[in-house]
Amino acid sequence: MALTGVLRPGFIQLRVLDMAASVEYYTKRIGFHVVTKGEDGRVYLKAADEFDHHSLVLRQADTAGLDLYAFKVRKDEDLDSFKKRIEDYGIEVDDVRAGEQPGIGRRISFVIESGHRIELYAQAEMSEPKPLIHNPDVWSVEPHGMRARRMDHALLYGPNIEKVLNFFVKVLDFECAERVDMPDGLLAIWLTAGMKAHDIAFVNHPEPGKFHHVAFELEDWKDVGNAADIITRYNISIDIGPTRHGITRGQTIYFFDPSGNRCEVFAGGYTYYPDHPTRTWDEKEIGRGIFYYERQLNDAFLSVVT
């Protein structure tokens, strides 16, 4: 098995202003399932096409935004070696006990230089619904809503993106698949731990710890069209799309959850191998890079975050 260390995004924990409206939105519209509710009120959700316990955690709060983003690593020992490497780099690491989130083993937790809390864990129980394993049909329970297949990636906004790039590449062994350089410096990076075009991305932004979007993967462009119908039918707040990203080549829509957290549905995107070069974009063509058909950024891309 060639994939070692960090495997992929595991789960995201988001703050929401209205739990009932949020659960309805992520289950009926995005197409997720509630796995369980915690005693502290957090709600744990997943796509039926994911094996692991959950990939989305909602926490009721009086602000919107991101609490933390967690990646799954291959082996339990990886947590010890990453802990040492992160501490040697100069970032403090907290231990989070197994079971702090139901179904999830011990985690290590740290705040990177952009102000975001990132976590690693190795163990997750499986939960229902999940894909069939023996003589598997294409789905176990019928896809509904936007038919999201998994929590795919996130885009985060904060300062010190040069340092974040260095940390993810040198300490967590990610690769940089694409980057945008403006005349005054690095604006954005797309990072991958595996073979997707990105698992996490960052845009340079003065305020630390901000959240731009979480993306849910769809099967194809036809499902992106279906998601667009759902967005209008249920009066979901739209940002932009359906359109395509030049960067990653993903087919996409940006829209907002009931607390104003931006969501994306995402289909396609190229396959990345670690021997591929980093693809680069400049100020002149950044519009095409972000929104391939519009060829310019919209008002909200750089200014609207939670």
Binding site: L17, D62, D239, S259, S303, V304, T306
Partner: protein
């Protein structure tokens, strides 16, 4: 659909009159302003109407209610603190009119207005 209609006057940060929109009791005030902008009814805005999440999370549509009554959805405390709330500050996307309204756009940090308007004009 509710037929209760209201007039919403909007001022910019410099207290200059920008125009009016028709508000409905079952419609977010910000959405009525977006429609007015689409019909070319909003002038004197230093930039386009600030529209983001339309769900009370991102804070970009922060404003002061100068006159009138409204009903509110939850909105992020990051952008409207308890003190702000007592002063009549709101996020326009998270309120619904209960009478005619007069509102003034008031971004969180006036110092940031310049930086914001740059990114908004891209």
């Amino acid at each position: 659909m509710s037929e209760q209609r209201f007039n919403i006057d909007v001022e910019n940060i410099n207290a200059e009159f920008c125009g009016s929109s028709t508000g409905y009791a079952d419609e977010r005030v910000l959405v009525s302003l977006e429609r007015a902008q689409g019909f070319g009814k909003l002038k004197n805005l230093p930039k386009r109407l600030p529209v983001g999440c339309r769900r009370g999370g991102c804070g970009i549509c922060r404003a002061r209610i100068l006159e009138g009554n409204y009903k509110r959805d939850p909105m992020s405390r990051e952008y409207v603190t308890l003190e702000d709330e007592k002063e009549g500050l709101v996020l326009l996307c998270a309120i619904y009119p209960l009478s005619d309204l007069k509102v003034r756009l008031e971004p969180k940090c006036v110092k940031n207005v310049e930086a914001n308007s740059q990114s908004l004009e891209i």
